[in-house]
Symmetry: C2
Subunit: 320 residues, 2 copies
């Protein structure tokens, strides 16, 4: 929940002159999203979301992110579509930051995940993987396996402040996961952060996906593993295999998992849990006092990581 | 900027069943407003704002606030209008809090006040004072003169933490203002907090007023004094008499100030400055570490208070 940059009405009016979307009727900061400043912008032409990219997004990545959203939308995936300025640019500068206008996506993200949501998200993830085919740009996964050791190095000496023994537990998991990490699985454009707050529903139907600012070119099955972590655990850290079955069945109905992908599921899930554990640990230890954003509990992912390290096969995730 | 209460999609759907406004298409927390949780709610019937009243609003005051908004709107003032539920109630309960649905008001509040805005706000304030006539309920001004001494008592011993000598300066102003406070001036329903973020514009035209949760029954000229404080000082604390002239000319064109009201203007302005100094001082000294809302600088109002205490007559505010 955050709006970091305050946009004056004059700066907005001048920014909108570069677009063909009319003049502002309303402009309200949205209290969602932890990386960027998002505004709901209603103009004489319709409803839009205006995003100002704060420091965590590298402007050099914007052609990939925004181009991918246009590509996905053109191939039938429901997601916000960046609106080009009169000069064709997908992003411009506002208040000294890169800024993009996107179409407004109806829907509400589920605060409490029900089983029906899991089927929806599985199908939507497969649709995303198919729709991403043919997109000409690539982006390395900055938070993929190659990034985990450097990321952990920033927190290792202080990890035990969060829980005694945590540093050793992470170190052990890191070595095991990196040495077992699969090679040669199918790759393509993945979302890499498809948590419930990034999936909009109208009733039980997915109305669209948002927030492609961790998207990258990596293993499709890793994206599935992220979703299993994000959607299929209960608040008490128990794994809900019914949800996992629904998610995986809906995904594989559109994009079957190969045998090597299935076999890799436990280590991919452990890697995904480790990735969120490491970023949360870093944010937990480094958030400034009085920050607008409350950091998320890293131990939630330490518990999920334990589940995955104990898993033997894809059967533990409900796959036959 | 704040959303304090997280509303689940299920709680929202069940809440909306009590209204005749369709089902939710979108529901986004708005990063504005420091007292309540506000959501932009788009339904199959249109755009609304849903407000959850957090602890600073007394539910017993809601019939006054919401009734006043309906009254003002019915008399031609542009403001959000509370939407009655099927059973006629203007507020119901959501997530354990009183909650109201209001119509959506187009417009953008001015981040930087220009002269033209001041004319607009003067006219809108007079229109509000006229439109409030005939409203049958009353509400005492909890932050009026009778409340200042008890409010200061909560901060007096720590005021010098903010600036050496501040406690003595406030004590001296408080005694002087209370002893000179006018009796018998015209009274009615006032907004009492008409700062720039509560006045929406489309271009240079006022499109409406929001946030009536400090509204009360008190001196009309005190409401003018609040606006002079809120709209007519520059960032360096200098008083912009051109802005004040525009504000007062637009106000008095619709509701002339009587001689006693004009004569009282300096003390009313000093009182208004003191009111915001005291609440900001309290919030500054008492905000929890890690709070979502950054407290506003109390010393801004200490500087404004000095200006008003040095003023001799309404002439110092640009009135002839």
């Amino acid at each position: 929940m955050a709006v970091y940059t305050e946009v004056s009405d004059e700066a907005l009016a001048s920014f909108l002159e570069a677009y063909d979307i009319g003049t502002a009727l309303s402009f309200k900061g949205i209290a969602e999203g932890v990386e960027n400043s998002n505004y709901l912008l209603i103009t004489t032409a319709g409803q839009f979301v205006l995003t100002l990219y704060e420091k965590r997004v590298d402007p050099a990545d914007l052609p990939y992110f925004l181009g991918l959203m246009r590509h996905l939308s053109a191939r039938g995936l429901s997601c916000p579509v960046p609106v080009a300025a009169k000069d064709g640019a997908l992003f411009r500068t506002l208040c000294g930051r890169p800024a993009a206008v996107q179409t407004f996506l109806p829907g509400v993200w589920p605060r409490r995940v029900r089983n029906e949501h899991c089927a929806g998200v599985g199908a939507a993830l497969a649709a995303l993987h198919h729709a991403g085919e043919g997109f000409p740009l690539t982006r390395a996964n900055a938070l993929g396996p190659a990034g985990w050791r450097p990321l952990f190095a920033q927190s290792a000496t202080r990890a035990d402040e969060v829980r005694a023994g945590l540093a050793e537990e992470i170190e052990s998991a890191l070595s095991a996961i990196l040495s077992a990490w699969p090679e040669g699985l199918p790759r393509g454009q993945i979302h890499a952060d498809l948590f419930p707050d990034n999936v909009f529903f109208l009733g039980d139907r997915v109305s669209g996906l948002i927030d492609f600012y961790f998207a990258c070119t990596d293993l499709y099955a890793y994206d599935v593993a992220v979703c299993l972590n994000a959607w299929c655990f209960e608040a008490d850290a128990s794994f809900n295999v019914t949800k996992a079955r629904l998610l995986l069945a809906a995904y594989t109905a559109q994009r079957p998992l190969s045998v090597p992908e299935r076999e890799a599921l436990p280590v991919l899930c452990a890697g995904a849990a480790l990735r969120f554990l490491l970023t949360r640990l870093h944010d937990w230890l480094n958030h400034p006092a009085g920050a607008l954003v409350t950091p998320k509990d890293p131990l939630e992912y330490a518990r999920k990581l334990r589940f995955h390290r104990a898993a033997r096969s894809a059967r533990d995730y409900g796959l036959d």
